[in-house]
Subunit: 396 residues, 2 copies
């Protein structure tokens, strides 16, 4: 009785649900402190105090009908103005209120942009390993997700294969940097080369290709790594941002799209994104959280980054010392570890040590597992004996 | 460069945007107090004090990582439990946590349900006049919206024509009671008759037809009118609720679906709604507002209803005394007024008196205009001289 598209998704999804249930089951038997759940990108670090301060302050001082009321589908004008100003200040860009559309998180933003620009049969290119939901988002607009194979072992984008996979039907390319699941950051040189390829292919095919930069992890960069602002390299760029990770607000569903005026047909695309926000059922990004985001727009999140960095160092040295292979993440809070056996089997073996990780197959990259280290430091430290045992069992 | 589907929507949508801009322009010239904007269903009544109290209390007392974090796509279990209990208490139903899926407002809920059950080419039946967005929601899943013509002048559902329009492809029927834009409430007898027709047609075609009851106005009923709970009449019923109107929280995007266990294939439909919530990009309903809704679940909103009722009485007597014809609304906060001339022309004529109303054509019912009376009482009183002038101009 459910739709055909949904049938496959429900069956698929129950694999992940089973893992979630397994985590709860194990916690019941061994105690939560003895279960090492690295499966979810749900920040363990609390939101900065400024977030709850902003909530109290807004609720005390602003009109209820404004705080909780409808506004333009694109969001409150003052909020969009402050966000544009902050982006300009931090990244040397030149956006205005009209270039910002507030969204229900980054996932909402991707769906809005796809709805605005994609026709059925269009192609959207992603780079493996990629966040598995991209496939569902492409399917929502009946587009074909074209996958550039992973570039092993450094997981930088494979630009040669990328160029070969661009066709006259390519309408969008989605990148995610800092990357989930690898932690890799695309450099200026990489983005410059990617832009040149796109320009060349647009000219060759007489087409327009949007480069969508999915950036929920923008602020989570370690060792002073620079995360270049993608609109500077290619004019048909749209940025999708979320406060889920930087402000630890994943449940609140608050983010925004940056839609530069330099884009081809920018005015229509911006209008279409407003309409898409409405008709997809979002209507607008949650109103109070829009105002909170505006108050916290320039907040210093280096303290949170330091916490994740401590986790990263502990996990990376622990795993490599145990014999595992992995690229040291430059950003985000994931480690993508090579599995000497099939990744699904590896995940099952890890579970025996109460360690929960996600098989790389979920990210179109078998032979690896993703470890989300947005957990308590103790969880990492206490998981290491299990990882060492697992390494022995695997003969590492 | 925008998608083909979106091109028409953007052009269409600019008509409404033009009205909104016109309102702002007029307010600039004549002062906001002299512009009577009845165009939007944006409650003028502030949220009950309990809402902001709940926000402060939750932020002060609960863990940040819980309040603002991820939870199951269906929403917090304790929130869904409290909502199920409240529905059971108030309407004599028997739902549990599993029957509730938290949604990004009612619009989010409709899109989730449609995504879960609709295949391309399926038919969804709506009764004119209907909320214009239903057409876009049907189009999001490539369904055909089949419209039962309006039953004039009482705007009760035309069940004879309804029965004739049900085909083997009918997969869902959407009703909205109390109704936007007419204020009509469907009686027990009406719902019983509708259920019989659906049962009969399901049997005839060997099909399963979901009755979707879109209920953001459930609590807004006047003169002690009863709003029957639709799941009691027909087992394949899904209820979509929103706190937008009852708690004056339209910008916060918080509501829920009720998915009864008695439905055919209930377990799969519930799973599919969870997955749809995730893949459509909602991920989950905004987390803090879920908790606020749970705290306010049994709140008495009669004070707000009294405010809208005062508006209703003033507007209804003012308009009928001026010579306009309209069914007195039993619920919601809209009046659907007959126009002696073309409704778009009527709206243009009204604008000369700084009165903004929405043509009935927007609701697939030309010859009427919708007046949203969720405005300040003074706006209504001060608009009446203009309405009287307009009546004279029209020879009423």
């Amino acid at each position: 009785m459910i739709s055909k598209k949904m049938t496959a998704l429900v069956n698929n999804s129950s694999v992940i649900r089973a893992m979630f249930e397994e985590g709860k089951r194990l916690a019941g038997i061994y105690g939560p402190e003895n279960v090492f759940d690295f499966s979810l990108g749900n920040p363990n670090v609390p939101a900065p105090a400024a977030v709850n301060d902003a909530i109290r302050h807004i609720v005390d001082e602003e009109e209820s009908t404004t705080i909780h009321g409808y506004m333009s589908n694109a969001g409150f004008e003052d909020v969009r103005h402050r966000i544009a100003a902050s982006v300009n200040r931090r990244f040397g860009t030149n956006f205005s209120t009209d270039n910002i559309v507030m969204t229900v998180g980054a996932a909402g933003g991707i769906n809005v942009l796809f709805k605005a620009i994609i026709n059925p049969g269009d192609e959207i290119i992603a780079f493996a390993p990629y966040f598995g939901e991209y496939r569902a988002y492409a399917d929502n607009v009946d587009a074909k997700l074209v996958v550039v194979p992973p570039h092993i072992p450094d997981f930088q984008p494979d630009l040669d294969n990328f160029e070969k996979l661009i066709t006259p039907k390519t309408r969008a390319v989605i990148i995610n940097t800092p990357n989930n699941p690898t932690g890799v950051i695309y450099s200026e040189a990489t983005l410059g080369a990617m832009a040149q390829i796109l320009e060349r292919k647009q000219q060759e095919y007489g087409s327009e290709i949007i480069l969508f930069s999915d950036e929920p992890y923008r602020e989570l960069a370690y060792d002073n790594a620079v995360v270049p602002y993608v609109t500077k390299y290619y004019k048909n760029t749209v940025v999708g941002y979320s406060y889920s990770k930087s402000l630890s607000l994943p449940g609140e569903r608050i983010g925004y799209l940056v839609l530069p005026g330099e884009m081809d047909d920018a005015e229509n695309i911006i209008s279409a994104c407003n309409v898409a926000t409405r008709i997809l059922g979002f209507v607008n990004a949650p109103s109070l959280m829009q105002k909170v985001a505006a108050e916290c727009v320039d907040i210093d999140v280096s303290e949170n980054v330091a916490i994740y960095n401590r986790n990263r160092e502990a996990l990376f040295s622990g795993l490599t010392e145990a014999g595992f292979e992995c690229v040291k993440p430059e950003g985000a809070f994931y480690m993508f570890v090579k599995t000497p056996v099939d990744d699904t089997e590896f995940a099952a073996m890890a579970k025996k040590y109460n360690i929960l990780v996600v098989p790389g197959s979920t990210f179109a990259c078998p032979g690896y597992v993703r470890i989300a280290y947005c957990v308590a430091y103790d969880t990492i430290v206490n998981s290491l004996p299990g990882f060492r045992e697992l390494a022995k069992e695997l003969g590492l």
